[in-house]
Symmetry: C2
């Protein structure tokens, strides 16, 4: 693993900017509310740690893109904070919707503070993202600030659409692989593609370079999600560690599951019979692999990865930032958990 | 009641603009999601009607203010739609948080579609508000568009702060009247004051006029909330119609309740003993009035009303729009339910 000099200097700046933006909420009277946000962001409370904060992939992607366009990344920090706040807004609400008890090894916001407060915490994170974006006008023209914001808001609307599909698929039958892409595009690719597009806009890239970066983020998001779906069934955690986390148990309509259902074989028949127990996970994962879903998912992830890297090469990213963008993409797409 | 010519022409334009903005979500694949929003907005589904849509007070206030600054109100329509969408975002989430079954006589979104979808519906309304605001740049300078948006986002942050206080007060004791104002300012006054301030900004008013309009909205919001608190105990609905709606039963920490608790008299002692039943509502409301809360609440509402009208006069609103702004204020502050 190489020393990622730029990344190492960007990460603390992201954290500082996030803290500055969230501090808008820090008033004596509403201190406990503010602390719900700092808890979720991994800064305070039991288990606070860099691991509890997450990897800050989205703001990093945005700022590396700006730098790879040969512009300074510091002026883009409010946009970087905004995309991370939006990501966290969606996580807080998602955890309520999925009734998830844990997030990055700690109790989720709704579990710790009840649903009513968690809804409000998510809302405030989303609003803080917009207040953060409103600071772009101090470093960029008002037109550029508005363009960046519109890109992000359109991605957010796609996010809610993807979330709707994800939730409605749970109870829907007869779904096919074609139903997968709009969900994955909304839930994962939309925000990542907004990160790289906004990074390019703030890096003053020309229109075709902006599009190449947008496509890079889009395919990176799809590749990431497909890889995630692969790990959700054949990853170590799903097979051995906590097999209750397996997508086969949760019933998630992931890409390999949709593939298997479409085959109408033994896997599909077993699924039709009702919930899958943790004990069955290994056998059923093997069956699904025999029906071709494992190879198909791996090939699809590879395809999306190729498209992502192809778009990135087309964007022609410059200097260290460019190299570190390639490294970040590889790191995301080769993770084992 | 006079003919409000301007208001009558503005209201259908608001509805049309709202429909246009929400239509961003209307795609075949996510049609049922879109229909959750149109249901909530009173356009479709069982019980759809103008009454189910609400009174559109916030966008009306914004557009009348723009017109009262002698500017055309039509270019401000995207901002008007935005404040109404934000109001409805907060209602949808509020109904989940309060576990309210009915809104404007119909099942609430979470009751009809479950909580997970209702969270997503609220989120999408908030995002649509921002996409609506992003259209302001087509009619105003980018700087003006950004200023309007920042005013609205700051109000939204106050809204979440007020919501936090409202929820945390439920389980807090030892609260006084001083605790009331930050809650009411956040929950009710913040958005109304953003409406009038943004109306003035888009009406190209000078700085001091913008401030006068902002103050008008602020005090109008406080007067509205105090009046609402009055009706919540001594209004017809609370006393006779559906006495389970009485703030004495729900336990809401409204202004008269905080006043009564501060008196440490019979009312406070009864409250200390636990939940109040619908049968006790009339007697307890009379007791609270005897302890001075009714007169105090009425006086406070009158004071806030005076401050609102004083600010409005200072803003010097012009022509029909000005007259209709006064009428709208009076209508809001004299309603009986």
């Amino acid at each position: 693993m190489s020393l990622k000099v730029l990344t190492e200097s960007i990460l603390p700046a992201i954290e500082y900017e996030l803290q500055r933006q969230v501090a808008r909420l820090d008033e004596p009277r509403t201190r406990p509310f503010y602390e719900m946000l700092t808890y979720h962001l991994g800064w305070t409370g039991e288990g606070a740690s860099p691991e509890a904060s997450g990897k800050r992939i989205r703001p990093l992607l945005l700022l590396l893109t700006t730098a790879a366009c040969k512009a300074g990344w510091k002026p883009a920090l409010p946009a970087a904070a905004a995309v991370e706040l939006i990501h966290n807004f969606s996580l807080v609400h998602d955890d309520i919707q999925d009734k998830s008890d844990l997030r990055r090894g700690r109790p989720t916001v709704w579990k710790k503070y009840r649903e009513a407060h968690a809804i409000n915490v998510g809302d405030s994170l989303f609003i803080l993202a917009h207040l953060s974006l409103s600071e772009l006008k101090d470093k960029f023209t008002a037109e550029v600030a508005l363009k960046a914001e519109a890109v992000i808001d359109r991605a957010c609307l796609d996010l809610t659409r993807g979330q709707y599909l994800d939730m409605s698929y749970e109870s829907q039958s007869g779904l096919t692989i074609q139903d997968y892409w709009p969900m994955a595009a909304g839930k994962t690719a939309a925000l990542l593609s907004a990160c790289t597009q906004v990074g390019a806009i703030l890096g003053n890239a020309d229109e075709s370079t902006q599009e190449a970066y947008r496509d890079f983020g889009h395919y990176l998001g799809l590749a990431f999600q497909v890889h995630d779906d692969y790990l959700g069934i054949w990853g170590d955690n799903a097979l051995m560690g906590k097999s209750t986390d397996s997508d086969l148990v949760t019933g998630k309509k992931s890409l390999p599951v949709l593939y298997g259902l479409g085959k109408n074989g033994l896997f599909a028949r077993r699924r039709d019979e009702g919930p899958v127990s943790a004990e069955e996970v290994r056998t059923l994962a093997e069956q699904l692999a025999r029906e071709g879903a494992k190879a198909f998912t791996q090939e699809t992830a590879d395809q999306m990865t190729d498209l992502a890297l192809q778009s990135l090469r087309q964007a022609n990213p410059q200097a260290e930032a460019g190299e570190e963008l390639f490294e970040l993409a590889n790191q995301l797409l080769n993770r084992q958990s």
